[in-house]
């Protein structure tokens, strides 16, 4: 009897087609959803990989010392002060007098610089491609060292006098040019320190530093506390000031964004295209003796190192050179 009932039930279930459409529809839906999720996941993975690469690019920190040797040779000492290995891929030598640019390949055995390691490249001993063209003592040169992550280390131009040493130390060594269009704002912000106005720079008189800029690009970006103001002097070294806050003209009043509450910036106020911003930094410190306040009585090259994210989620950084500023 029970067997008969089971058989009857099985037959009934086989013939019962109610709910089939729901099941098939659900399968179709899940197939599409799964494909879409896979797609989004793969995009996200790629974004993460490239963000990682961008972050590594920002992390690269190297010091360099150039020594002009007799007969127009050059000794380049490169020290990696960062936490990741650096690979040098090219050396540019630019003769400012004759306007000649030559790019040399770095020899394979000298291109990898591991953390806290120092390498020396002697342009005569080490095989350079093309062959090393000796420096002319009466000419002014500019050097560029290029890493495989895309950073370009470029010290100030120098005269190729034998025995001349050019040292580039401190944070950040890069004056790499940005990927987004930001311009210095000359007249729209009432900034009284370090601002470019009428092709001149207002002198720095100690204390917190203020710089003005305007986002003239077409994408928004968000600053993080990794942004710095850099004062560089060949006599006293490099001093950096950390980002304290920035104010955005909204355009009725200044809207302040406190940098202290920003971890990695995603929740902070974005600087949209067209926004005028005043960036406030603490008094720069550092120099050849670490954590020492900036010394007065010197002339400094001033850079603004902006770090953060752009609206597409890419790591954003840009170094802007403001020019030479006499201190108080």
């Amino acid at each position: 009897m029970r067997l008969c009932l089971c058989r009857h039930k099985a037959t009934r279930l086989r013939r019962d087609r109610r709910g089939q459409a729901t099941v098939i529809g659900s399968i179709f839906f899940f197939m599409i959803a799964l494909t879409l999720i896979t797609f989004i996941y793969e995009i996200a993975q790629n974004q993460i990989v490239m963000q990682h690469q961008d972050a590594e690019r920002v992390t690269e920190t190297i010091d360099s010392e150039l020594l002009v040797l007799p007969d127009g040779d050059l000794l380049i000492k490169v020290k990696n002060r960062g936490p990741i290995p650096v690979k040098l891929i090219g050396l540019w030598v630019i003769d400012k007098n004759d306007n000649i640019h030559i790019r040399y390949d770095i020899p394979d055995e000298k291109c990898d610089v591991f953390p806290w390691e120092e390498i020396e490249i002697n342009t005569t001993i080490d095989t350079m491609n093309p062959d090393w063209d000796p420096l002319n003592e009466t000419h002014e040169y500019s050097i560029k060292l290029v890493t495989d992550r895309g950073n370009i280390l470029e010290p100030r131009p120098f005269q190729a006098i034998s025995g001349e040493t050019i040292t580039i130390t401190g944070y950040p060594p890069w004056v790499s040019l940005g990927e987004t269009d930001i311009s210095l704002n000359s007249s729209e912000t009432p900034v009284y320190q370090l601002s470019k106005a009428q092709h001149s720079i207002v002198a720095y008189d100690g204390g917190d530093g203020f710089l003005s800029l305007k986002n003239t690009g077409d994408i928004a970006f968000i600053l993080t506390i990794n942004s710095r103001v850099i004062f560089r002097s060949d006599a006293t070294g490099v001093y950096t000031g950390e980002l304290i806050e920035w104010a955005i003209w909204d355009p009725v009043e200044w809207e302040e964004v406190d940098a202290a509450g920003i971890a990695q910036g995603k929740d902070s106020r974005a600087i949209y295209p067209g926004d005028v911003v005043i960036v406030k930094f603490e008094k720069p410190s550092g120099g050849l003796e670490t954590m020492r306040d900036i010394l007065s009585g010197y002339t400094y090259h001033v850079y603004l190192h902006l770090a953060g994210y752009d609206e597409r989620g890419n790591t954003y950084f840009q170094d802007i050179y403001y020019g030479i500023v006499p201190s108080w």
Binding site: I89, W92, K96, R149, S176, L177
Partner: protein, 145 residues
């Protein structure tokens, strides 16, 4: 009995209707599935390639011989080969390459390109913009001698 059944046409219409519905459903889903799949794979390919592009402009050599020109040197630091379509100086297009003459830069490769007949001014800041075939923009600023 058999003759009766063969002669009866009363159940034909629901059967044909069901068959039609099944065919339409399968065809509709197939169409939707293939187009979705095609769109997704296209987006996947494009998006991923766009994300993976990185380029730096190492140097711009403004030369002043018989004719003024600029020699641009660039390195692909991304994870994919790329093609450069436009070169702009201060947002003015100075070079537009057609499909067959796109400047190809392989992964990790350093290439140069001479921008001829560009009448640059001395001691002037130029924002050089390279736009790739996939629409990415890479910029750097150089000052002419």
């Amino acid at each position: 009995m058999v003759r009766e059944l063969l002669g009866s046409k009363r159940a034909v219409s629901p059967v044909v209707a069901s068959l039609l519905m099944i065919v339409i459903t399968i065809a509709g889903f197939g169409l939707m599935w293939s187009s979705t799949n095609q769109w997704i794979s296209l987006q996947r390919t494009n998006e991923m390639q766009v994300i993976r592009e990185r380029l730096i402009i190492e140097d711009a050599w403004f030369t002043n011989g018989e004719e003024k020109f600029v020699n641009l040197t660039m390195t692909n630091i991304g994870r994919i080969d790329l093609m450069i379509r436009y070169v702009k100086f201060n947002e003015v297009t100075v070079l537009r390459m057609e499909d067959e003459e796109l400047l190809s830069v392989g992964r990790g490769e350093t290439v140069y390109r001479i921008i001829e007949d560009f009448d640059w001014d001395t001691n002037t800041e130029y924002r050089v913009t390279l736009i790739t075939d996939r629409g990415n923009r890479f910029e750097a600023v150089f000052v002419s001698p």
